[in-house]
Subunit: 319 residues, 2 copies
């Protein structure tokens, strides 16, 4: 497939780097200020070197990436809430052109799911968004294959930053602020970590899961989630938990029409007690009991893997 990549951050860059390994061609890539276009396929190494040295991918208008020749728009601009713009507008234009869309941007499917699905319905193109939930972990494709109606609940650790902090606090008995600083040094937490530590990121992923599981019955947005973060957990709480053979993790849960994110006690050696930045999603199914899927929930190459898997599925649809 020919890919146009909107967004040249860690994810967009990794997609550009790996697309060739998966048999795809990058015909356009845009950052916030520029675009590089080549209907015969860009020299992605050269484009990314330019981005490194000059701060821009090319000399074209970013707009040109949307009007370029492509089969799949990879929407990897930063997640925005509410109206989910400009990402929503980009995917809208692609679908109106009967092109496919692969989303890494959570905003549109967390905040305007019904509208996105309606656009896809009216389009010859399809939309896929594996990368929006659990990074490299094949959560949404598993739900799709097994049938959303047969999945009765989804529960898991969906934010690597928060999990890293809690598992380090548990392992070392350290204060939250100390481990947060460590996480920031390692690049595991952002300078402004609130999106991760307040539970918003995990909540968006749970909202997307809830939308997928509900199919057409009901639509959810971030407002439907009950969210509590990890910034008020003292080391004593973790110590108390350990004495009882438990630990604390930031758990997201979609069950019975409710969406909840918050710190939960889990058995110390539970599958849910993943360590470091690992994510895990546990699906309860109607006929096959429990399925656990765990792996890396974030990172450029990891997220690109999910995007390119979606592109592969789209390529196998086309006659």
């Amino acid at each position: 497939m020919r890919l146009s990549i909107a967004g040249a951050g860690a994810v967009g860059r990794s997609v550009a780097q790996l697309a060739g390994d998966y048999g795809h061609t990058v015909t356009a890539i845009a950052d916030s200020r520029s675009a590089a276009i080549d209907p015969d396929g860009l020299d992605t190494d050269a484009v990314l070197e330019r981005k490194d040295s000059e701060g821009v991918v090319g000399t074209a208008d970013p707009e040109d990436a949307l009007t370029a020749e492509y089969d799949v728009l990879v929407e990897a601009t930063p997640t925005t809430l509410g109206d989910a713009q400009p990402g929503f507008g980009y995917l809208e234009r692609a679908l109106q052109r009967d092109r496919h869309v692969v989303l890494a941007n959570k905003g549109p499917v967390a905040e305007r799911y019904g509208e996105v699905m309606a656009l896809a319905e009216d389009s010859a193109g399809e939309i896929r968004f594996e990368a929006t939930v659990g990074g490299a972990i094949p959560v949404l494709s598993t739900i799709e294959d097994y049938g959303p109606a047969t999945i009765t609940a989804a529960r898991g650790v969906l934010n690597g930053t928060a999990n890293f902090i809690l598992s380090r606090m548990a392992a070392e008995g350290l204060q939250y602020e100390h481990v947060l600083a460590e996480a920031q040094d390692l690049g595991v937490a952002e300078a402004d970590p609130s999106f991760d530590v307040e539970g918003t990121d995990a909540a968006l992923k749970c909202v997307i899961l809830a939308n997928v599981l509900a199919e057409d019955d009901r639509e959810y947005t971030l407002e439907d989630a009950t969210v509590e973060g990890i910034d008020a957990i003292p080391p004593s709480a973790l110590e108390l938990a350990r004495e009882d053979g438990r630990t604390i993790r930031l758990i997201g849960e979609v069950a019975g029409g409710e969406i909840r994110v918050g710190p939960r006690l889990v058995p110390e050696h539970s599958d849910l007690a993943v360590t470091g930045t690992t994510n895990i999603v546990r699906l309860e199914t109607e006929h096959a009991g429990r399925l656990n899927l765990s792996g890396r929930g974030a990172g450029g190459p990891e997220t690109a893997t999910a995007i390119l898997a979606d592109a592969g599925r789209l390529s196998r649809l086309d006659p």
Copy 2:
């Protein structure tokens, strides 16, 4: 899709029971002595009641299930080795009729993989076989989506019977023979358990994984696997392991072109130290680190889930 089901054991029966929930119609089902056929869709409840009370599904010739009107042949006859007959013949006829095939029977893709792929290549129909490895766990579809070339190793617990026995021995300090008898009482082990406890079942699944991962580069059969079972492990070995923070599990491994099944020491709380009849497959990927997929590896409804997921994928291919 219209399904013709070859085999009316636990798996075939479950497919017949659940097909309707997934939007499919069963137009034929055969056991070893009979068949029931209805191009407009069988009353599967009635057919299965007949099987319960009379021991046969219908009054037609089993052969008729192969010549019936159907889109997908579900091949769920017992796994056979070597020439993999009669299962191989059934799938051959379906593909020669340009029909799709969904396999639960491991024989053809473990012992005659190249021939099966060649038949599928020449057919308008496709073949899928998720149910042959890890039951309900979406192993093969995950490998397919991420690209076999990007999976560098696969390792896991692929036989529930052997795992149940070892995890019970570890938990209770009991002798192998005692726990085997318990497993047989529970229906977790067969009267003749050799296929499971000698490692053959796990080895077949690893051979299938090796074939999928190698793509066209190399073809494997059961003879290529180095296999050791669990029947010579004394409780003292598990005790010694525990003192070192480890336990023993029957681990199958596909890596570096080699296929090995045998008892291995694993850390006590490792993801691989699953308990009971749970299965787990750990995939090492080139760009996304490690993926762990665990769940129920066997059982009628569980295996049917994988078969019906494959049928769903096939239905989404058809224009």
